[in-house]
């Protein structure tokens, strides 16, 4: 491959109305180099990637590729300019073959205009060989492992001979082996094939293993760019989340010493054993990355997933839920993550969204519309719901308000909830609603006796801001139980260290990671 010029971002800015998301970004992506981009949630990473992939149009500034200056791209132009992006969620057609997928949307034709299957298979084999993957081009994608599917995504990109390959949290869905293989592949792509690679991840172990240079974004600006060899994990952690929790999120730590819920050797399919007591009035945070088992744990407790082994007592009653309705009746409810997929009814009205778990509880045969409306109005006021109209469709609520609505199901008092479980309680929620939701949860746990809440989060800031006590969950195991006063930097590094240690004890060949 011929020597290439680097790709430069010059004074790139993006603002939405009065909100500035990216501010004078100057970055250079060099061929043959893996460039990691780090930053907390909301630092502007996805907007930056969007500018490069064509999903977002920059407000000002430019992108220079090979001396050509672009003010922004349409997605097709980005592809033509040699920029290829691989998302966390694969964009593969599962029932088609490997070569079909590699050429999807850009099929080769014979001179008669038919699909050139043989030619596609030949080139696919070449590309696979180039990235060091041994796969039959005729194999059907859904028969492959997740790691191999990831490989096909990469093969698809590599076939277009990209100048710039962007990997957005590429390891989220992968197992440890596959992560290793992917990181090796990424290094190969850059160092041997001369591609400029942008690698975005939250996992600092991976960054240290794969990156040549590292840039940290904070509040829409580039904090610094340095060579990997010049920085340590500690510095990265400090750069990503400077230890500053806003005052209003600090709370009084008054908590009774009375135990509300007790886990004894509790196991879900992936997590455990879990031995822990939750006190009345406590908000217990479970801090863990994707794949740590946090969702599995919460859903099992809420009766939505099996198996369940070991014991859980609530107010000294022994529990074992076989369904969500059993859990609700016993006073345990779950606010699931990913509202749109798992919690909201977009085409139903606000009052229906709020009341859905309670209709059969309020009455068996005839509903009581007037009472429903009364409950809704009360909750809309308590939650400061906007819009507050009972007939507003679920889809009309913004992230924060939709979350308040969904949360309201368990705060409205129609069921006696003693243990409220929340999975990523403020994912996709704006800052204002976030503070409100924290306040609502605290009120729930502290203002009445016999209640507690347990939430899972991958955001260290949230863990520190909301929890009274934090459990660090790594690969289904409790790695640490800590006080939130340790701050998010310390928490993040505890989790990272536990993650790396776990990898070291469970994985051969990952020693390289730790050494770095």
């Amino acid at each position: 491959m011929t020597a290439r010029n680097s790709i430069q971002l010059i004074d790139l800015c993006k603002s939405y109305g009065t909100v500035t998301v990216l501010k004078n970004i100057n970055l250079e992506f060099r061929p043959g180099e893996v460039h990691a981009i780090l930053g907390a949630n909301g630092a502007g990473k996805s907007t930056l990637l969007g500018c490069l992939s064509g999903a977002v149009h920059p407000s000002s500034g430019s992108i220079v590729i090979d001396g050509r200056e672009f003010k922004g791209f349409a997605p097709r132009e980005a592809l033509d300019a040699g920029i290829s992006i691989i998302y966390q969620h694969f964009q593969l057609a599962n029932s088609l073959s490997v070569s079909d997928n590699v050429f999807l949307g850009d099929e080769r034709r014979t001179k008669w205009g038919f699909l050139d299957k043989a030619g596609q298979a030949r080139i696919t084999s070449e590309v696979l060989a180039r990235i060091g993957l041994e796969l039959d081009p005729d194999e059907i994608v859904e028969d492959l492992s997740v790691g191999e599917q990831q490989g096909i995504e990469i093969a698809r990109s590599v076939r277009r001979e990209p100048r710039l390959l962007i990997l957005d949290e590429p390891t989220a869905a992968l197992g440890k082996h596959e992560v290793e293989a992917l990181l090796a592949l990424v290094r190969r792509l850059a160092h041997e094939l001369g591609v400029a690679v942008i690698f975005v991840t939250h996992l600092l172990g991976e960054v240290m293993a794969v990156a040549d240079r590292i840039s940290v974004l904070r509040e829409g600006q580039v904090l610094w760019t340095r060579a990997r060899s010049e920085v340590g994990i500690g510095e990265l952690v400090a750069a990503i989340s400077p230890d500053a929790v806003p005052l209003e999120t600090r709370r009084s730590r008054e908590m009774s010493q009375k135990v509300l819920a007790h886990f004894h050797g509790f196991r879900s399919s992936y997590c455990g054993p879990f031995d822990l007591a939750i006190n009345e009035g406590e908000i217990l945070g479970i801090y863990g990355m994707l794949g740590s088992g946090r969702t599995d744990l919460l859903e099992t407790i809420a009766g939505a997933r099996r198996p369940w082994s070991g014991r859980l007592t609530l107010q000294d009653r022994e529990l074992h839920f076989k369904s969500t309705i059993q859990a609700m009746t016993a006073g345990v409810a779950l606010v699931a993550s990913d509202r749109l997929a798992q919690a909201l009814f977009p085409s139903l009205s606000a009052v229906e969204n709020l009341m859905m778990p309670h209709y059969s509880q309020m009455s068996r045969l005839m509903r009581k519309p007037r009472k429903e409306l009364g409950v809704f109005r009360q909750m809309a006021a308590d939650l400061q719901l906007r819009p507050s109209g009972p007939t507003t469709a679920g889809s009309a609520f913004s992230g924060g308000n939709a979350q308040k609505l969904v949360l309201g199901r368990w705060l409205c008092g129609l069921r006696d909830i003693a243990l409220l479980l929340l999975d990523e309680p403020t994912q996709g929620v704006d800052v204002g609603s976030r503070a409100q939701i924290y306040q609502l949860l605290r009120r729930f746990a502290k203002e009445a006796t016999g209640r507690a809440a347990m939430f899972a989060t991958s955001d260290p800031e949230e863990a520190v801001a909301l929890a009274d006590r934090i459990v660090v969950l790594v690969n289904g195991q409790v790695a640490h139980v800590v006080d939130p006063s340790i701050g998010e930097a310390e928490l993040l590094s505890l989790a990272q260290t536990a993650e790396i240690a776990h990898g070291a004890t469970h994985q051969l060949g990952s020693k390289e990671d730790i050494a770095l």
Partner: protein, 328 residues
Amino acid sequence: MTAISNETGRAPAFTPSRIIILAINFVMPLATLVLMAFFAANTTAFLSLDNFAALISQNAAVIIITVASAMLLMAGYVDLSVGSVMGLAGVVAGLVFLDAGSVPGLLAGVAVGLGWGLVNGILIGLFELSPIVVTLGGLAAARGIALALAPNAVYGFPEAVVALGSGKFLGLGYIAWIALAVAAAGVLAMSITPFGKHILSIGVNPRAAFLVGIRVKKTILTLYALTGLSVGAGAVLIAARLDSAPSGTLGVGMELTALTAVLLGGVPFTGGRGSMWRVLLGVWFLMILRNGLALMNVGTEFTNIISGAVLVVAAGLEVLQLRLRKLA
């Protein structure tokens, strides 16, 4: 939408697209009225209480089965076996009428429908088999069984059965009363019972429904059982009215008629929305279309062409409405 309307949830001002959205709601009622006016003007027999009463009796099974199918589709599920199972239930009822008398026959017919519905419900609701596949299989199998049991029409039913089929109360046939009662029950079920809300929740987001404690599998099972029950009931009522159970024709095409009525009533094929009132309007539209054209001596082929065209137009308007809503 303006920022203010967004904040308060109050209805926004009347913009052209909002007017179109609202107007689309009136297309079906208006089309029904126009159709009725047209038939009233062009035939002498159409606009009379007697004709309407007879129409409801004739279509008793259609009405009953459409109500059940509508609830099923609102949950996002479909039953293509209703026509064949109706044939089977009618034939079984007929054979038992001749063998054991009227009450055992009625019970047997209803039991066949209910039983078949339960099996559908178990396979689809509990074991999560594809509704299309399972009920398409039923469409073929039930008709086959009906024909095997009785290659020719079964007829000559006991007097009590004939009386049920042709008797009247206040000028309206018994079976018409039953159909109207089922229609009323359908409206009430969707509007005032928890069950109705659970059906919609499953149609909109089954995962969320499951997580908030709705018994999704049981609800689907119940819906198929109810559909089967209504098929069995429809079968015996029509057999009683005809004083005959023709194994080859009883219920043929019922799945399409019921589905057309439900879709005309604005229930999307994916479920999650819909009003039982509008579904009943959809049935009524199909009923008068057939009746009016028959009175005008127009062949059934035109009935089919028109109802097909109307269905596609209605679907198009539905899409337009959704698009405009998203823009609004």
